[in-house]
């Protein structure tokens, strides 16, 4: 694939060191799902439109379908399966932010990125802020209201 020979790439995934031997331009999404069997990140479009494959690379949210694995060599990757997402998961359950569940992993990871950003910047988390932060994540079930409510509840540490 991609002409280049398979190469070893080492990076952490959810805090654990992992090594994948694959083509340098293999998509991070495929490496996570197929080589590492972490299937929580989903492929909805394969071109960075839907956000269902969102993961964090060194704390920055990216579409893992657009990132070649060679770019994460030595980096820290965080996925929906990882630690530190308990409050976000709880909020999505309590507020009805997950319906069919296919966009949910991306929504949860993006919510976490937004919460971290709010904290770093010392900004109060608002519904408007969540709406902007989640603008790149598509959902066809919810009409977004309950997703925004979930994100805000997670960020404010409240859920019903």
């Amino acid at each position: 694939m991609n002409g280049a020979p398979d190469t070893s790439f080492t990076f952490t995934v959810n805090g654990e060191s992992r090594t994948a031997r694959c083509a340098p331009l293999a998509r991070l999404l495929d490496v996570l799902r197929e080589d590492l069997r972490l299937t929580g990140s989903k492929e909805g479009c394969g071109e960075g439109e839907c956000g269902a494959c969102t993961v964090l690379v060194d704390g920055v949210a990216v579409n893992s379908c657009l990132v070649p694995v060679c770019q994460v060599d030595g980096a820290a990757v965080a996925t929906v399966e990882g630690p530190g997402l308990e409050a976000v998961r709880e909020a999505f359950l309590a507020e009805g932010g997950a319906q069919c569940g296919i966009c949910t992993p991306g929504m949860i990871v993006m919510t976490k990125a937004w919460m971290d950003e709010c904290e770093r910047a010392g900004r109060a988390p608002t519904a408007e802020g969540a709406r902007k932060a989640l603008a790149g994540n598509l959902c066809r079930c919810t009409g977004y209201g309950k997703i925004i409510a979930s994100a805000v509840a997670a960020a404010r540490g409240e859920s019903r």
Partner: protein, 738 residues
């Protein structure tokens, strides 16, 4: 006793969905599986002469399956058996499957597909539904004598309304995995689907085999909205042929491009209204002509047309109604099911016609609706007398009270506006309204013919297992059944388990479509649970203590822990299929929407700034889930109104990637304010009717009405794109043309 119904329990499957553990079809581990792909037609119509296999490719690396490999009938069995699994000679649409390829890996599959070249002699294609000579299905509904009433009418108001197609855009593309026949000869398919027994039926027909030689299992399904009602049958037939050819499991999981290019979407429509109306706004006669583009094969079109025709006169009282509906065959990719199933198209037309009438009579749109709305005791276009659970007045008055739309000076097209450049900002705002209903369950005698079956069984651990074919794909089927079963058994939600939709394990409760899962199947679940509870109660005479303990004691005492229920329609329903007369649905959901918009006069971009919906669903079994249905359905309707563009050229969908096939994101979405009204349906479980499709019907006409209010131009064709609005604006303001 209601303990769980009406409260919000958490989705039982939710923890898996929020942690990445939920297993969708693409997530299934299938060691040794091959990858399946499809060689397709690139023309809308022609004669297939053959598929050339490039000798430069080593064809021993792959396995092929063509029409000759179909063991039974080469048809995808649906309503009619006119669509082949694989084309033999006649090619009817772009993307039509011609030959199947399985390969050990994706790269080899891609190379093989590129090396297979169909030879098709093109024929002239029918791509305009107005010119299509071939009628797939037609329906005539007559109430009173509309032609005579119109012939003597003093005033006839006419309008023609069009809706383009719309893509379901479930975020998980279609996919199934098929296994070659096992030692007992059984073929197993797992996949993303709404209707496992539809897939089962099509496989039994294609394989020419026994019902118990096919097993279909739904796995976690990432959205459907009707799009996974019929197409999974096609995909499963293909995957099964390849699994048989390759002798290994075959994964057929579309990427987004393939999904958008070849799967069915909403039927495009053209609806003409001719309405006779009295000076005070009373509807005297309605003549309605409905035309749908069915695409190349019958698929579900007759049933879509049926729902369209029954809803075409809207939620209004009128003594003289004539509705003529046709769905025609064209050489487009077959159109199919999408939430609402024909009703959103005709609801757009009748609601816009009501606004046109309001404008012509200088009546307020809300006043015109109040005067004509169906109430208890009125009859619908099919002559159905509405006896019970009619929330029409409640939803209308509640949404008007919340929005104050009846005090808003709505302006129809043609009413003079202030000069737009005197406002400073080159933006206009508007408010629009819609009022609508949606029949729950299958049309007419559909439920009687289907006879949904449901089982509830106590397991050894003392839990009640609910066995149905109804699928969860986001709506909340699992939580809703759990709540109904818990209350009917006098148990807690933890005492209930909902069985997976596996055709070898569950009875056929019918497809998960038509807003029927709660009202019809949920009702059966409650009945079966009530029967079990009565047995347990009769055996012990005691309902104290944990349910699981009582259930285990009941089984230990030799009690029969299995209850099966077959659906029975509410008494007194009469339907005449031949004349389309009578009780079309057991019950209707009712709703009214208000939309507020802002339109930019330079770009003609529409922004929906606020959306209100008041809805009567009978009883909200799980209020949070019902709100989720209404919010999500309303947003799909808003997208249908102005944002979601799918066009065809030469029979090909031009928007065949997510980057071009737009759906609303968070920034396109207004606050959606939902209010639930409960006017119970005595024959529904805990009073519930349907909710799934209803919110798809009214959003588009409400947004179009708001755009008309803002701009003073008719909005009769959706999506109301900036290009369409600019054209209409320049027709109304020729002095502004460059």
């Amino acid at each position: 006793m209601e303990r769980t119904v009406g409260t919000d329990i958490r989705r039982p499957e939710g923890p898996d969905k929020v942690s990445g553990r939920a297993v969708f079809v693409a997530d299934l581990a299938t060691p040794g599986a091959w990858f399946g792909g499809t060689v397709r037609s690139d023309v809308p119509r022609g004669e297939l002469l053959g598929v050339d296999l490039d000798p430069a490719f080593d064809w021993d690396r792959v396995r092929l399956a063509g029409p000759a490999e179909v063991p039974g009938a080469n048809v995808v069995a649906m309503i009619n058996e006119d669509m082949p699994v694989l084309a033999e000679r006649e090619v009817r649409h772009v993307g039509q499957p011609l030959l199947l390829v399985a390969a050990p890996d994706a790269e080899t599959l891609g190379a093989a597909l590129a090396a297979a070249r169909p030879r098709i002699a093109p024929l002239p294609a029918v791509l305009d539904m107005e010119d299509a000579p071939d009628v797939l299905h037609e329906i005539l509904i007559e109430k009173g004598d509309a032609p005579s009433a119109l012939a003597r009418a003093a005033r006839i108001i006419e309008g023609t309304y069009r809706t383009d197609t719309q893509e379901q855009m479930y975020i998980e593309p279609q996919g199934v995995i098929a296994w070659p026949p096992d030692a007992s000869g059984c073929t197993v398919v797992r996949g993303s689907m709404q209707c496992p027994f539809y897939v089962h039926k099509s496989l039994v027909t294609m394989l020419g085999t026994r019902a118990d030689a096919v097993r279909v299992i739904q796995v976690e399904t990432g959205g459907g909205f009707g799009g996974k009602e019929d197409y999974p049958s096609v995909l499963a037939c293909h995957a099964v042929l390849l699994a048989r050819a390759a002798g290994v499991p075959v994964r057929m999981i579309y990427d987004r491009h393939e999904d958008l290019a070849v799967t069915p979407k909403r039927h495009p429509s053209r609806v003409r209204h001719r309405t006779s109306v009295a000076d005070d706004g009373t509807l005297l006669a309605m003549d309605i002509d409905v035309l749908l583009d069915g695409g190349a094969y019958t698929t579900l079109s007759p049933v879509v047309l049926s729902r369209a025709c029954i809803h075409a006169a809207g939620a209004y009282r009128c003594d003289h109604v004539r509705i003529r509906g046709r769905v025609v065959r064209t050489d487009h990719v077959p159109y199919g099911a999408f939430r609402g199933f024909g009703a959103p198209q005709v609801c757009f037309a009748v609601e816009r016609q009501m606004d046109r009438i309001a404008g012509a009579l200088a009546l307020h749109p809300a006043e015109l609706r109040r005067k004509n709305m169906l109430r208890v005791g009125d009859t619908t276009a099919t002559g159905q007398r509405l006896e019970t659970s009619v929330g029409s007045v409640e939803v209308m008055e509640r949404v008007l009270a919340r929005s104050r739309f009846d005090r808003h000076a709505w302006r129809s097209a043609g009413v003079a506006r202030e000069p737009h450049d005197s406002q400073g900002a080159r933006k206009r705002t508007g408010v629009g309204f819609s009022f609508f209903f949606h029949g729950a369950g299958f049309t007419g005698s559909g439920e009687e013919l289907l006879k949904a079956r449901v089982r509830v069984e106590l397991d050894q651990g003392g839990r009640a297992v609910v066995e149905t074919a109804s699928t969860e794909f986001g709506q909340g089927t699992i939580a809703m059944f759990t709540a109904l079963a818990a209350d009917a058994l006098g148990a807690a939600p933890e005492d209930i388990r909902i069985a997976a939709a596996d055709t070898s394990r569950v009875p056929n409760s019918g497809p998960t479509v038509a807003s029927r899962t709660c009202m019809v199947v949920g009702g059966c679940v409650m009945k079966a649970c009530a029967e079990l509870r009565a047995r347990m109660s009769a055996a012990s005479g005691d309902e104290s203590g944990p349910f699981a303990d009582r259930a285990r004691a009941f089984l230990a005492g030799g009690g029969d822990g299995l209850a099966e229920v077959v659906y029975a329609s509410p008494p007194g329903l009469v339907w005449d299929e031949e004349h389309y007369r009578g009780d079309a649905y057991p019950a209707y959901g009712w709703a009214a929407d208000v939309a507020e918009v802002e339109v930019d006069l330079d770009t003609f971009e529409v922004r929906v700034t606020r959306f209100l919906s008041t809805v009567d669903v009978g009883k909200a079994i799980q209020p949070q889930l019902v709100e989720g249905q209404i919010e999500g359905g309303s947003l799909q309707a808003i997208g249908f109104a102005h944002l979601e563009v799918v066009t065809t050229e030469g029979g090909r969908f031009l928007q065949d990637r997510m980057a071009t096939c737009i759906i609303p994101g968070t920034l396109d979405t207004p606050p959606i304010e939902v209010e639930l009204v409960e006017v119970p349906f005595p024959h529904g479980p805990a009073g519930a009717k349907g909710v799934g499709e209803l919110p798809m019907d009214g959003g588009a006409p409400a947004v179009a009405s708001a755009i008309e209010d803002a701009l003073g131009i008719h909005v009769d064709h959706i999506p109301a794109t900036p290009e369409r609005l600019l054209d209409a604006w320049l027709r109304a303001h020729p002095e502004e043309a460059l």
